[in-house]
């Protein structure tokens, strides 16, 4: 199929299905994934070079926009120590569940780690939708759930950055290779700090005065791509570079003018990000899932149970009551962006196979459907009333 036709169809269907998802109370990412599932059979080469490049751009813009537009590092600095313990426990328990599952099914060391990271992340967007839907954003433990999801997101990106660097060697790296990885990470961070604190503030003063149309917007996009490229040449993945570039850019007043943010969000969510989600949908192999039913069920159950138990235990350590601890555990279950990026990187690097990939996509989809239902029933049990959650 012609590439222009592919792009047109993906964006069109992603928006139509996305709208339907929102009206059903589900996250809009379903729209993109569903568009990919529907269009997959009609695309001659679903993993063709052009479309996979566009999908990578989608992942880059997904991470860049998250850091630049949505959740600034400032919020992490304001998070209380109260958030740290339960966040640590649900990340740890879920990671152990993922790693152990891979070990039981005799997968490789790196694949186990990738599965562990995919298990340990929480989607901020899905958590927010769930809490708002059940009117629990400002009620306890809603704020704690959201703070924990924000922290979890940052930890997930850091874990992804480390594992991608390690996975480039396709085995556990030796001493010299670890040094190379560390120097690459440190080198990248030093460059970004110098650019972020010394170069960008001055640069944007000049860009601000440029007469050419959309100069600031263009430079914001340039910085997203430069950060992604620099990360790649220093041994990190491009999405990590884009995320860190977005963090530093979010602190530059001239780069964060509302009008520019709106344009960046427009090109990201309007065009590129749907391509990434569609690519995820196209890459699911349902026939493999049928022949690996036990593994798929184990992935779904353990990923959700790991988060639930980890969150519950962490809250209990803080002496939170049982219902609120359960709500916190359920609140850490929904997954979306980081997990999908983790597995798509894992698949493209040849570290995880089609079976794990497809099972984890199904787990992500299940998590955003099941979590709000569990939350609703738990809140009903806690409050002893038949409360309603929007869309559920």
């Amino acid at each position: 199929m012609d590439v222009i036709l592919q792009i047109f169809l993906v964006v069109l269907l992603a928006k139509i299905f996305g709208e339907l998802s929102i009206r059903l109370g589900l996250p809009s990412i379903f729209g993109g994934i569903l568009a990919g599932i529907v269009l997959g059979p009609f695309f001659a080469e679903p993993n063709g070079e052009i479309f996979s490049f566009l999908a990578e751009l989608g992942a880059i813009f997904l991470f860049f926009t998250a850091a630049y537009n949505e959740v600034s590092i400032r919020y992490i600095q304001t998070l209380s120590k109260y958030t740290l313990i339960p966040t640590f426990t649900h990340i740890l328990v879920a990671f152990v569940c993922g790693y152990t599952l891979g070990y039981i099914f005799d997968l490789g060391f790196l694949e186990n780690i990738f599965i562990g990271i995919a298990f340990s992340s929480t989607s901020i967007g899905s958590v927010v939708n769930m809490l708002i839907g059940c009117n629990y954003l400002s009620k306890n433990p809603g704020p704690l759930v959201l703070s924990s999801a924000i922290l979890n997101n940052f930890v997930g990106v850091i874990m992804l950055g480390i594992i991608v660097s390690v996975a480039t060697y396709q085995r556990l790296p030796g001493g010299r290779e670890i040094l190379t990885i560390i120097s690459g990470v440190v080198g990248f961070l030093v460059i970004m700090i110098v650019l972020g604190y010394k170069v960008y503030p001055v640069l944007f003063k000049y860009i601000h005065r440029m007469q050419i149309k959309e100069s600031i917007f263009a430079f914001v996009i340039i910085i997203a791509l430069v950060s992604a490229y620099l990360a790649e040449i220093l041994g990190l993945h491009s999405v990590i570079g884009a995320f860190i570039g977005g963090i530093f850019l979010s602190e530059i007043p001239l780069a964060r003018i509302e009008d520019i943010q709106s344009k960046v969000s427009g090109i990201s969510y309007g065009v590129f990000i749907p391509m990434f989600y569609a690519f995820i949908g196209m890459s699911i192999d349902f026939s493999i899932l049928q022949t690996n039913g036990l593994f798929t069920i184990a992935v779904i159950v353990l990923a959700l149970l790991g988060k639930l138990l980890g969150g519950y235990i962490g809250s209990k350590i803080l002496k939170v009551n049982s219902y609120d601890s359960l709500i916190f555990g359920i609140g850490s279950m929904p997954k979306a962006d980081v997990e999908l990026v983790v597995i798509s990187i894992g698949l493209s690097m040849g570290v995880i196979d089609d079976v794990s990939y497809s099972a984890i996509v199904l787990m992500v989809a299940t998590s955003v459907v099941v979590s709000p239902l569990l939350l609703k029933y738990t809140i009903q049990a806690k409050e002893g009333a038949n409360i309603g959650c929007r869309g559920i």
Binding site: V71, N135, L146, P253
Partner: protein, 170 residues
Amino acid sequence: MSKMNKIKGKFFTGSNNSKTGEDKPSMSNRCQRIGINDIIKKDIVTLSEGDLIEDIINVFTKHRFHTYPVINDKGNLTGVITQNLILKIILLDIMPQTDHTDLAVKSLSNDAKGIMDPHPVTVNLDSNLCDVAKLMVKHNVNQVFAVDNGRLVGIVSKLDVINEISKIRG
């Protein structure tokens, strides 16, 4: 003919003026001569970083401006809160799902510092009317804030700019 040229001179700036035989400087020259100090409103209502949401809503109902600057203890401009933003925060659950994450994170704080937009469009005191007009058009904003080394000095609205340009056009 001369009448026609006069009308042209009003609408088309630059070399047209010399053809009319008038010595009036062009519109851009005239607006560059008007410093920002001549047009800013210095008597402004501000919010402090520690103001709670209820205080902020009270300010909106009392004064009826569209946008309020937020200042820190040193009087430095640190952000702005608009009518749009406060409405979005209060009515979060009916806003589009795509805006939820950003707004929900903001709503974790209950003070001005947490919910404000931290990057307002500012100008220095050596700017002129042309600079301000260009900024407003370029960034699609209805007001800019005048700062002196980060300290908030005043505010200029789009209406102030139009009024001033109207005056210099005669």
